[in-house]
C-alpha cells in the first residue's frame, strides 16, 4: 500500500445503527460470493465468476454514500457493486444461473448485471469499458439540470486503458459529477500491478486537475467518509473525483483460479489480517457500540436469506427459446 491520503473524519455523524447496516451489507456480499463459489464448484453455475471477497468495504462504503437514483457502472468483478447499490439476492443468483427471473432475463450473466431501478447502468466485462458510459451519465445529469452523481468502478488493470484518460479529461473540463473508483486489488488477472503500472496512481488523475485521493480500501470507515465527501462535492457542482482504494482480492482471479501460483501464501495471510468485516467488527466492539453476538445474528440472518435466494434461483425456469432473438433491438 503506497499512497494513502484519506481526509480526516469524525465518526460522530454516523450512529451505530448505520454502521450495523453497513456491516450487514458487507456480510451480504461475502455470503453471496461464498454461495456463488459453491454453485460453481458443485457444477450448478454455468461459466465462471469473479469473486469480490476481501473488497466489500469499497462497494458498500461508496454505495452507502449514494442515493438510489445515483448511477453506477460496474466491472466483471461486480456482484458486490450490484448488491451494495440495492440489487436483490434472488434475482442476482437467478442471473448467475442464466434463469429468466434474473436481472437480465439470463442473457447477461455474472459479468453483465444491470438494474436501472437501482441506478446500476451495467457491469462491464471489458476492462475500463464503462469509463465513458459513467462519464456520459454524468454529462446527461448536467444537461438535464439534475443532481445525481455517477460512480465508475474499475480495477487497477483499467489504468492501462486509454478510454479512462479520455473520459477523465472531459469530466474535468466540463466539471461533471462523476467519481472514478479504482479498486487496486494488486493484481490485474495474474500480474501484480507494479509490473504493469508506471508512476503514481493518483498522479494519473491529478495530472488532469481531478481531485484525487488514495485510501485504505479495507477500512470501511475511511472509504465511506471519503465517499460522502467526494459525492457531496460532485453533487454540488465541484466536479469529478478519483479514488484509489487499496485492497486485496482474497480469492483468485475467478472461481477456477485456486492455486494462485503468481503470489505467496504469506502475502495472502498478511492481507487476511486486514479483512474489512473483521476491522469493522473490532472497531464497533472496541468503541463499545455493540457486542460480538450482534455480528453472529446478522451473519445468520444473511445466511438464511442467501440460502433462500439460491433455492429460488435453482428452482427458477430457464428462458424460453423464443427469448434468444428478443431485445437485439429496442
Amino acid at each position: 500500500m503506497s499512497e494513502t491520503n484519506a481526509p480526516n473524519f469524525s465518526d460522530d455523524e454516523l450512529d451505530t445503527e448505520h454502521w450495523l447496516h453497513i456491516y450487514e451489507q458487507m456480510v451480504k456480499i461475502r455470503t453471496f460470493e461464498e454461495a456463488a463459489n459453491e454453485l460453481y464448484t458443485s457444477a450448478k453455475m454455468p461459466g465462471i465468476a469473479h469473486l469480490y471477497i476481501g473488497e466489500e468495504a469499497i462497494a458498500v462504503g461508496i454505495c452507502e454514500a449514494l442515493r438510489q437514483d445515483d448511477y453506477i457502472t460496474s466491472t466483471h468483478r461486480g456482484h458486490g457493486h450490484c448488491l451494495a447499490k440495492g440489487a436483490a439476492l434472488d434475482r442476482m443468483f437467478a442471473e448467475l444461473l442464466g434463469k429468466e427471473a434474473g436481472y437480465c432475463r439470463g442473457k447477461g450473466g455474472s459479468m453483465h448485471i444491470a438494474d436501472q431501478e437501482t441506478g446500476n447502468l451495467g457491469a462491464n466485462a471489458i476492462v475500463g469499458g464503462s469509463a465513458g458510459i459513467a462519464t456520459g451519465a454524468a454529462l446527461s445529469v448536467k444537461m438535464q439540470g439534475a443532481d445525481q452523481v455517477a460512480v465508475c468502478f474499475f480495477g487497477d488493470g483499467a489504468l492501462g486503458q486509454g478510454l479512462l484518460y479520455e473520459s477523465m479529461n472531459m469530466a474535468q473540463l466540463w466539471k461533471l459529477p462523476v467519481i472514478y473508483v479504482c479498486e487496486n486489488n494488486q493484481y490485474g488477472e495474474y500480474t501484480h500491478h507494479s509490473e504493469t503500472t508506471a508512476g503514481s496512481l493518483v498522479g494519473r488523475a491529478t495530472g488532469f486537475g481531478v481531485h484525487a485521493l488514495a485510501i485504505d480500501g479495507q477500512d470501511i470507515r475511511a472509504v465511506h467518509h471519503t465517499a460522502r465527501l467526494v459525492v457531496d462535492r460532485a453533487r454540488k457542482g465541484g466536479g469529478p473525483a478519483f479514488l484509489v482504494c487499496n485492497t486485496y482480492r482474497f480469492r483468485g482471479h475467478h472461481v477456477g483460479d485456486i492455486d494462485r501460483p503468481y503470489r505467496s501464501r504469506e502475502e495472502e495471510a498478511e492481507w487476511a489480517r486486514r479483512d474489512p468485516l473483521t476491522l469493522l467488527e473490532d472497531w464497533l466492539v472496541k468503541s463499545k457500540q455493540t457486542e460480538a453476538q450482534v455480528f453472529q445474528r446478522i451473519q445468520r440472518d444473511v445466511q438464511t436469506a442467501v440460502e433462500a435466494a439460491v433455492a429460488f434461483a435453482l428452482d427458477a425456469p430457464y428462458p424460453s427459446e423464443s427469448e434468444v432473438e428478443r431485445h437485439v433491438y429496442a
Binding site: I133, M143, L163, N169
Partner: protein, 375 residues
C-alpha cells in the same frame, strides 16, 4: 491475382487514362467529383416539386429540426460547434442551439462515443460526430461491445438511442487513413443499425429516423456527396430503415448500389440503355436492416444481378447482398450474381492510383454487359 481482378485493373486503367493527362490537383478533384455525382444521372425523384438543397443542407436540416423538436438531442464531436464540422455541414448549429447542445470535444473518439452511450442510456439522445469514417476504428469497443449489446445484455431494460454520424468514400486525394468506406464493419454487428444515404432526400429522412430510433444507429455520409443537390420537401417527413428505394426501373439486370455508388450505377444504367440493356437500380439505403425482399423480387424479374459498393470487396456489403439475392432468386437467375467493391488495397494517395481502386460506371457497364450476354 484472379482473372476478375485482372479485368478490373485493365478496365479501371482504361477508364482513368484521362486522369493522367490532368496533372493539376484542382482539376483532378473536379474530375473525380464529376464522375461521382453528375446531375444528369439523377435518381427517381421523390417530391419532384420540392425545393432543391444539398446533401449537406439536408443533414443539417434534419439535425436542427430534431434538436428543435426534442431537447434531449445534442451533438458532440471534434470541431462541430465553432467550426461547424470539418465539412461545414453543421455551420450555424451552435448559434441556434448553444454550446451546451453542440459540444466541441477533445480529439477523443472513443471517449466521446463512450459518453454518448452513457448519455443515451440515461435519457439523452446524443449525435456523436466522428469526422472521418476511418476514425471509427477508435470507437469499436464503445459501439460494438457497449452500444450494440447494452439492450440485449440487460434483458431489454436499458436502451441506447444514439446516432453516430461519420463519412465514407475515397477520391479526395486523402490517402489510406481518410478515405475508407467501413460501413460493412458495423453492418456485421447485431444491435447496430447502419444507414448509407445517397440523396439529400434520403439523407434527411434517414437522419431524422435515426435520431428518433431507440437503438444505436451509424450513418455514413459520402463526403463527395455533400454538394450534391436534390429535391427535399420543406414539410416534415421521415424514412423507414430497412426499406430499399428503386432509383431507376428496368427489366434486364438488377444493379444494387449503395451511397455514391448509386450515381455510378445510374450513369452505367444510362450507358447500358444506349446499348439496349434496361437496368434496374436499387438503393438499399440501410445496410442493417437490409431490405432483402426488394432485391430478390427485382432479381427474379430481371434474372441477373450486380452489386456495387465502395467498401473493400472482400467480406464486404457486396458479398452479403449477393448472397441474399443468390439465396432468394437462385432458380430465376440466368447468371451468377456479380459484385464490385473497392479494390482490396489501402486507398493510395496518388490520383492515378486512387482512381483505380473505386468502382466506375465503365466497369459496371462492362460487367453488366457480360452478365446479360451470358459471357
Amino acid at each position: 491475382m484472379s482473372t476478375l481482378e485482372n479485368q478490373t485493373q485493365v478496365v479501371r486503367a482504361e477508364r482513368n487514362d484521362g486522369a493522367l493527362s490532368q496533372p493539376r490537383l484542382e482539376a483532378e478533384r473536379t474530375a473525380a467529383f464529376a464522375h461521382r455525382a453528375k446531375p444528369e444521372y439523377s435518381p427517381a425523384i421523390h417530391a419532384p416539386d420540392a425545393r432543391g438543397i444539398t446533401f449537406s443542407q439536408a443533414i443539417r436540416e434534419a439535425i436542427a429540426e430534431e434538436m428543435a423538436r426534442d431537447e434531449r438531442v445534442f451533438v458532440i464531436g471534434e470541431d462541430v460547434a465553432e467550426a461547424g464540422s470539418v465539412f461545414k455541414v453543421l455551420v450555424g448549429l451552435v448559434d441556434e442551439f448553444g454550446a451546451e447542445r453542440v459540444i466541441d470535444s477533445p480529439i477523443s473518439e472513443a471517449g466521446i462515443a463512450g459518453l454518448g452511450v452513457g448519455a443515451a442510456i440515461t435519457g439523452m439522445r446524443p449525435i456523436v460526430d466522428i469526422m472521418f469514417g476511418d476514425f471509427t476504428t477508435l470507437v469499436m469497443d464503445q459501439l460494438i461491445n457497449q452500444a450494440a449489446k447494452t439492450h440485449y445484455m440487460s434483458g431489454g431494460k436499458l436502451k441506447v438511442p444514439m446516432v453516430l454520424r461519420t463519412t465514407l468514400g475515397a477520391s479526395r486525394r486523402s490517402a489510406a487513413q481518410h478515405s475508407q468506406s467501413l460501413h460493412a464493419l458495423f453492418s456485421h454487428i447485431p444491435g447496430l443499425k447502419v444507414a448509407v444515404p445517397a440523396t439529400p432526400y434520403d439523407a434527411k429522412g434517414l437522419m431524422k429516423s435515426a435520431i428518433r430510433d431507440e437503438n444505436p444507429v451509424v450513418i455514413f455520409e459520402d463526403k463527395m456527396l455533400y454538394q450534391q443537390k436534390g429535391p427535399v420537401p420543406e414539410e416534415e417527413y421521415t424514412l423507414p430503415f430497412g426499406r430499399a428505394d428503386v432509383k431507376r426501373t428496368g427489366d434486364d439486370i438488377t444493379i444494387v448500389a449503395t451511397s455514391s455508388m448509386v450515381y455510378v450505377a445510374l450513369e452505367a444504367a444510362d450507358q447500358l440503355a444506349a446499348a439496349g440493356i434496361s437496368a434496374e437500380v436499387i438503393d438499399p439505403r440501410t445496410t442493417t436492416p437490409l431490405d432483402v425482399e426488394t432485391f430478390v423480387q427485382s432479381a427474379q424479374k430481371t434474372s441477373r444481378a450486380l452489386v456495387v459498393d465502395e467498401g473493400y470487396q472482400q467480406y464486404g456489403v457486396t458479398g452479403e447482398i449477393a448472397a441474399v439475392i443468390a439465396d432468394g432468386a437462385f432458380y430465376y437467375l440466368d447468371a451468377p450474381v456479380k459484385r464490385i467493391g473497392a479494390m482490396n488495397v489501402p486507398v493510395p494517395f496518388s490520383p492515378v492510383l486512387e482512381d483505380l481502386t473505386i468502382p466506375t460506371a465503365a466497369y459496371v457497364v462492362e460487367t453488366a454487359k457480360a452478365l446479360v450476354s451470358g459471357q
